[in-house]
């Protein structure tokens, strides 16, 4: 978290970095629908 006078940033943004070494496909498949325990992809664990 970083804070300046008017803005507090909650996280270290890292999506760009993640693209560089990502895509290995080892993580869980994540059904998004309500009939399984769906989830937003964003709470999945990366296996790397």
């Amino acid at each position: 978290m970083t804070q300046t006078k008017h803005i507090k940033t909650l996280n270290n943004a890292n999506l760009k970095e993640s693209a560089v070494k990502g895509g290995c496909g080892e993580c869980q498949a994540s059904c998004q629908s309500a009939c399984k325990t769906s989830c937003t992809v964003a709470n999945q664990k990366c296996e790397k």
Partner: protein, 473 residues
């Protein structure tokens, strides 16, 4: 692209392409209305023109400088450079399977998408031979992927538990020689749980999903046994037993909310009260003609309830009554890589469903739709053109998703819902989108609230909610 919104006293700004989340003051929030991807080092004239009557120009300048810094660091109005990766998964191997071990069920839940377990066809249990072929298929089609997932699904999988056990034993007997690691999961309505089954599940299944809609009267209204009785009393003790002996392995108690319980926060709290800590309640997705369906006009009420639930979760977290509500969980720091986020479930490509007859479909929700049959395990057919068609569905090929702020969290939604309600897997189902976006807004707000709370050194909180059970009071 940014998405900004006010919720619960927070002004929240999400920088879509980097994933950065900023909490800003009111003037900063207003200034952002006038800015876009084309930021320049010097203060744009428009800010002075529009805002200097109302606000001190030095404040405006100072804020602009802070914003420009973020822009320079790639945390504000950052660019979307991910489309180049969108075809990366097209040749991906199959790594996950939904094994419909039983097309039959011992409940008749009103909202069942699988036509009460039978998927619109005849009721059938999967023979072991088909299960065995499914394991062989997954090993053969998974290339170099090490972790393979297999979800026992139905219908009700416990109605065919002997075959579940045989399939697990078979997979375990050959996984090492193929350098694979099977992760089994199972979804059950609980009626047939026994001590033996609980022991097996807790040993072999990396996750178990226990269906329950919450309060007894809510659960028993739609989750009916074959003789039209409610299922609550029969399943609760079994679930409690299973969870008590599960150690720290994953499980979810999951429910469906419908128009009948738009006050579903109470159902979440009820699940917590029963001793469960891993919870999920999700909106029913059903034909709008049915009386329990969530329709467009119900959304304001659902949103209000999501906010109430989010506030309840904050209150509980502050009071160390910890539980996870699956839908509001979001990892702002790590999370999956951007490439994974371009497509959600991987259905029809990395993920497939297999029926008791050995038919292959893109996922459990396509089962029974002949146009989407991908092949059959018995005759060895597998339609790779269809696989490729599904592989190419991603947030850039779905026109609504391309410009949606939620795309890297939602990842393009559910292809099956799109097909069922919009007639096209690439056409987003509006109601689902709105629900998803509201959940994300709540999830991020919870992070903001907890960051505040944790930053405060005398952060003692006393919960005074009256609609809650008394544990933490």
């Amino acid at each position: 692209m940014i998405h900004k919104y006010k919720l619960n006293g927070y002004n929240i700004v999400l920088d879509v392409n980097s994933g950065a989340v900023h909490i800003v003051d009111d003037l900063t929030y207003e200034i952002l209305d006038y800015l876009d991807e084309n930021m320049t080092k010097s203060l744009p004239d428009i800010l002075a023109d529009k805002l200097s009557d109302k606000y001190n120009i030095d404040d405006i300048k100072a804020i602009y400088e802070e914003l420009y810094n973020l822009f320079e660091m790639g945390q504000l109005f950052s660019s979307d450079d991910y489309e180049q990766f969108s075809d990366m998964m097209v040749k991906a191997p199959v790594k996950a399977m939904c094994l419909n071990i039983a097309h039959d069920c011992n409940l008749r839940c009103e909202y069942c998408f699988a036509s009460k377990g039978g998927y619109g066809g005849h009721r059938m249990l999967m023979p072991f031979e088909v299960g065995k072929k499914a394991i062989d298929f997954l090993i053969e089609h998974s290339g170099t992927r090490h972790n393979l997932e297999l979800d026992f699904f139905g219908g009700e999988p416990l109605m065919n538990f002997d075959v579940v056990k045989q399939v697990v034993e078979y997979a375990r007997s050959i996984e090492k020689q193929h350098n694979k690691n099977f992760r089994f999961t199972i979804t059950t309505n609980g009626l047939l749980l026994t001590d033996d089954k609980i022991e097996f599940i807790n040993k072999e299944m990396s996750n178990v999903v226990l269906s329950l809609d919450g309060r007894k009267n809510i659960n028993d209204k739609l989750r009916l046994t074959l003789n039209n009785k409610g299922s609550y009393d029969a399943i609760i003790p079994k679930y409690q037993k299973l969870v008590a002996s599960r150690g720290d392995k994953d499980y979810y108690v999951r429910g469906t909310f419908t128009k009948h319980n738009l006050d579903f926060t109470k159902d979440v709290l009820h699940m917590r009260e029963l001793g469960f800590t891993q919870l999920s309640i999700e909106p029913v997705v059903s034909d709008p003609m049915l009386d329990f369906s969530i329709k467009q006009e119900d959304l304001p009420r659902v949103f209000e309830e999501y906010e109430r639930l989010a506030n309840t979760i904050i209150e509980c977290k502050k009071n160390k009554n910890n539980f996870n509500f699956f839908h509001f969980m979001i990892d702002l720091e790590q999370g999956p890589c951007a490439i994974k986020r371009l497509r959600g479930c991987g259905c029809g490509n990395e993920y497939i469903a297999v029926t008791p007859e050995g038919d292959i479909y893109p996922c459990h929700q396509f089962v029974g739709n002949e146009n989407y049959k991908m092949g059959n395990l018995n005759d060895g057919t597998f339609n790779t053109d269809m696989k490729e068609m599904f592989a190419k569905s991603n947030v850039y090929t779905k026109s609504d998703c391309r410009n949606c702020w939620a795309k890297f969290y939602c990842s393009g939604g559910c292809n099956a819902n799109n097909f069922q309600y919009e007639g096209d897997i690439l056409k987003s189902h509006k109601t689902s989108c709105e629900l998803e976006k509201k959940r994300l807004e709540c999830a991020i707000m919870i992070k903001a609230a907890m960051a505040d709370f944790n930053a405060d050194t005398n952060n003692n909180s006393v919960c005074d909610r009256e609609d809650c059970f008394a544990e933490c009071k």
